[in-house]
Amino acid sequence: MTTSEILIFAGAFLARAVEMVEALTIVLGVGVVRGWRSTMIGVGAAALLLAALVAAFGPALQQIPIDTLRFVVGALLLAFGLQWLRKAILRSSGYKALHDEDEAYREERERAAAAGQVQRGHMDWYSFTVAFKGVLLEGLEVVFIVIAFGTAHGSLGLAAAGAGAALLVVLLAGVLTRGPLSRVPENTIKFAVGLLLTSFGCFWSVEGAGADWPGGDLALLGVIAFIAALSFCLVQVLRRRRSRLVPVGAKA
């Protein structure tokens, strides 16, 4: 396995893991309060739809010439990855609140308990809809990442395997803990995913534009190091700026 392939697997794995942690919170909140049958049918339907999207768009996009594909996919990954990185930097520097899984779980349970009966036949449509929407919306970003990583490098199977492995790990962790995975360092994972998305976006868009990286494929590691160093410096600058604004002793 080459360095690029390891990073593609890691990127898909981490993106899927962090999105699944959020989806798991929603599914648990609904399932615990309203029952599991309709909730799990919703989860299964969303998972099937996500897999169908990868199966339909992945091979179709691989028919496009590789330089055009890398340019377009690289540009999209750059725009998309910079969003992840920007939010992770804002969270790390205290300008944006960290995602609180325990709080999200409590709110989801309250909403599920307050919702009236939406029973038709054997199905509770509230549970189905919330679980379906939660898994689908959290999973769409992962589908985009898997397709982008997979097609631009010709490793669709590897990227899908990374995402699939993360799905199993998070599901297993959820079953074992029987609660939201609030101790998962979500922002650190989002930081890593943002870093990988932006770096691959940089690397492929430059290649797709027809320029040559000094050092060939090894330059990818240089790009990752550069963007990591840049992000670290930006976090430090913003923390210092924030410490001048927030009174001593105030919570981040």
């Binding site: 920007r86 804002l90 430059v206 840049l230 700026r241």
Partner: protein, 65 residues
């Protein structure tokens, strides 16, 4: 029409997100890279530099607001 607008809004939020200037900056940098490569300049350095500028600029704007 409502559904078309919602569909476009979804993709705008998905790709562009909170700060359109980041996506616009990257688009300009990509255009310049293609232009420089067409003039035989190996402009591999332009996109990483643009990433630094647009990211720092976007963070500066959102933390000053």
């Amino acid at each position: 029409m409502k559904y078309v607008r919602a569909f476009l809004r979804f993709w705008w939020d998905f790709i562009v997100g909170d700060d359109w200037r980041v996506a616009a900056g990257i688009a300009v940098a990509l255009g310049l890279t293609v232009l420089l490569v067409d003039h035989d300049v190996n402009a591999w350095w332009l996109i990483p530099a643009a990433v630094g500028v647009v990211l720092a600029g976007s963070l500066d704007r959102s933390t000053r607001a």
